[in-house]
Symmetry: C2
Subunit: 304 residues, 2 copies
C-alpha cells in the first residue's frame, strides 16, 4: 500500500471507529435505563462496564461485514451490541479477584472495584442474558431463521467450546507449559471465536449461504490470531496508561504466549503475515470491503 | 381431594420425578462429555453441578405443560434441560463467596468448594451459554420461529428484568427493609420468571397462540409464588440434612421474607390458597393436566 492510501485508510478507520462507538453507546444507554427500584446498582454496574470505553472492534466488524451484503444498518448495529454485551460480560468476570484480579479496565476501575464483587458477577450474568434477548428480538432480523442462526453461533462461540473454554485453558496455562499449537487453539477459543462470529454475523444477516462464507471465515480467523499476537506484544512492550489496563501480566503469571514461544521479532512478523493473508481472503470483494481491510491493518498497528 | 386420589397423585408424581431426573441426567451426561484437553476441569465442574441432584422441577414443568399439546417428548426434554442449565448456573453463582457464600448444595459441596472460585464462575458462564445453544438447535423444534420465541422469553426471564434482577434485589434486601409487595416482586423475578417460562415453553412448543396461554400463565404465577413461600418456610422450619443446603440463612442475614412479613401460619395458608387457585386455572384442561395439578400439590407439600 502506498503512503497516500495508508493515510486514507487511517482516516476511514478513525471516522468509522468514532461512529460505531457513538452508536453502541447510544444503544446501551437506551437498553440499560436504570429502573427506580433496588435493581438500580445492577444497571449502574452494567452501564459502567458497557458505556464509554473500548475500541468497539466487534460491533465494527459486524457492521463492516454486513455492508458487503447491504444489510439494514440497524440490524447490524443490534447484532454488534449483542456481541459487545458478551465481550463486556467476559471482561467483567475475567477481571474478578478469583480470575485475573484486575483493578483497571478501559482506563476505569473494574466493576468489582467501582461496585462490589457480587454486583460484578450479576452485571456480567445480566449482560450475558441480554445479548441473547437482543438477538432473539424481531428487530434484529424479521426472519426467525436468521435470528436462530445468529444465536446458535454466538452461544457456541461464547460457551465451553469457545470463550469460556478458552478462558479455562488460559487459567490452566499458569500451571502448565503449553506448546504453540495449544496456545493457538486456546486463543482461538478465548478471543478468536467471538471475532469470527462478528464477521459471520454480517453474512448471516445478509442470508449468505454457508458455502459463500469461506473467504470471510478465513479472514476472521487470521485477524483473530493477529489480534491476540498483538495483544501479547502489547502486554510485553506496552505501558499501562496507553493500554488502559495492567501490562506484563502474562510473564508475571508464568504463562506461555505467542511472544514467549516465538520471541518478539518472529511474533511481530507472524502478525504481519496473518494480516496480509487476511486481506488476501477478501480478494473477491471490491472497494466495499475496504473497511474490513482497514480493520485488519488497524489490528496489526494498534498499541492498546 | 379424597385420600385414595391423594395416594394416586403422590404415586404419579414420584414416578414422573424419577423419570425426568433420569432423562435430564442422561442428556447432561451426553452434552458435557469432557474433552481431552485443559478444559477438562471446566466440564467436570459443570457435571458436578448439573448431574445427579435437584428435584428437576423445571424440566418436569416443561414436560407436563408440553403434554397438554402433544409436543414431541424429546423437544420438551431439550427445553427442560436448557432451563435447568440456567437454573444450575444461577445456583453456582449464587453460592459463590461474594454472593450467598454457601458450602453445600443438593447435599454436595458447592462448585467453588469442590473446585475453585474461578472454575465455578466459568462453569456457570458456560452453562448459561449452553442453555441458548440447546434452544437454538433445530432438534429443539423444527420451526425457527418457535426456537426464537423460546430464546427471547428465556433470556428475558434470566436477565436484568428477571432472575439476575431478582438476585440483585435479594442482595439489597440485607440492607433494606422491603414490604410484602416488594418481596413478592423480588421473588417473582428471582424464581417465578423461570418457573413461568417452563410452563409457557410447553405452550410455545405446542404452537399455542398467546391468547390461549392465559390459564397456564396464571397457574405458573401462582405455583411460582407458592414455591417461594414454601422455600421461606423450609428456611425457617427445615433442617439442613433434609434441605440439602444451609437453612436459617434469611433470618441470619436480616432479610424480610414472606414468613417474616406474614408469620408462619399466614404464610402456610397463603401457599395453600395459591395452590388451589393455580389448580383452578387448569379447569379447562381435563385429565391430561393431572401432572400439572400433582406438581402444584407437591410444591406445597415438599420439605426440601
Amino acid at each position: 500500500m502506498n503512503e497516500l492510501a495508508a493515510v486514507a485508510d487511517a482516516d476511514l478507520l478513525e471516522e468509522e471507529l468514532g461512529a460505531i462507538a457513538a452508536d453502541v453507546d447510544a444503544m446501551f444507554d437506551r437498553l440499560l435505563e436504570a429502573p427506580a427500584d433496588a435493581r438500580a446498582p445492577l444497571f449502574e454496574a452494567m452501564r459502567h462496564a458497557a458505556i464509554g470505553g473500548g475500541k468497539r472492534l466487534r460491533p465494527l466488524l459486524v457492521r463492516a461485514a454486513a455492508r458487503l451484503f447491504a444489510v439494514d444498518p440497524d440490524c447490524a448495529l443490534r447484532a454488534g451490541v449483542a456481541v459487545e454485551a458478551i465481550h463486556v460480560y467476559s471482561l467483567i468476570h475475567d477481571d474478578l479477584p478469583a480470575m485475573d484480579d484486575d483493578a483497571m479496565r478501559r482506563g476505569k476501575p473494574t466493576v468489582h472495584i467501582a461496585f462490589d464483587e457480587a454486583t460484578a458477577i450479576l452485571a456480567g450474568d445480566a449482560l450475558h442474558a441480554m445479548a441473547f434477548e437482543i438477538l432473539s428480538d424481531p428487530d434484529t432480523h424479521a426472519d426467525p431463521f436468521v435470528r436462530a442462526e445468529l444465536i446458535a453461533e454466538l452461544a457456541r462461540a461464547a460457551g465451553p467450546s469457545g470463550m469460556a473454554g478458552g478462558q479455562m485453558m488460559d487459567l490452566a496455562a499458569e500451571h502448565q507449559s503449553f506448546d504453540l499449537a495449544t496456545v493457538t487453539r486456546l486463543q482461538h477459543m478465548k478471543t478468536g471465536a467471538l471475532i469470527c462470529w462478528c464477521v459471520e454475523a454480517g453474512a448471516i444477516l445478509g442470508r449468505v449461504p454457508h458455502e459463500g462464507r469461506a473467504g470471510l471465515r478465513a479472514y476472521a480467523r487470521d485477524i483473530g490470531l493477529a489480534f491476540q499476537i498483538v495483544d501479547d506484544l502489547i502486554d510485553v512492550e506496552g505501558d499501562a496508561a496507553t493500554a488502559g489496563k495492567a501490562v506484563g501480566k502474562d510473564a508475571d503469571a508464568g504463562k506461555e504466549t505467542f511472544v514467549s514461544l516465538m520471541g518478539v521479532e518472529r511474533a511481530r512478523e507472524q502478525a504481519r503475515i496473518l494480516t496480509e493473508q487476511a486481506i488476501s481472503h477478501l480478494a473477491s470483494h471490491g472497494r466495499e470491503a475496504d473497511l474490513l481491510r482497514a480493520i485488519a491493518r488497524y489490528i496489526l498497528e494498534r498499541n492498546h
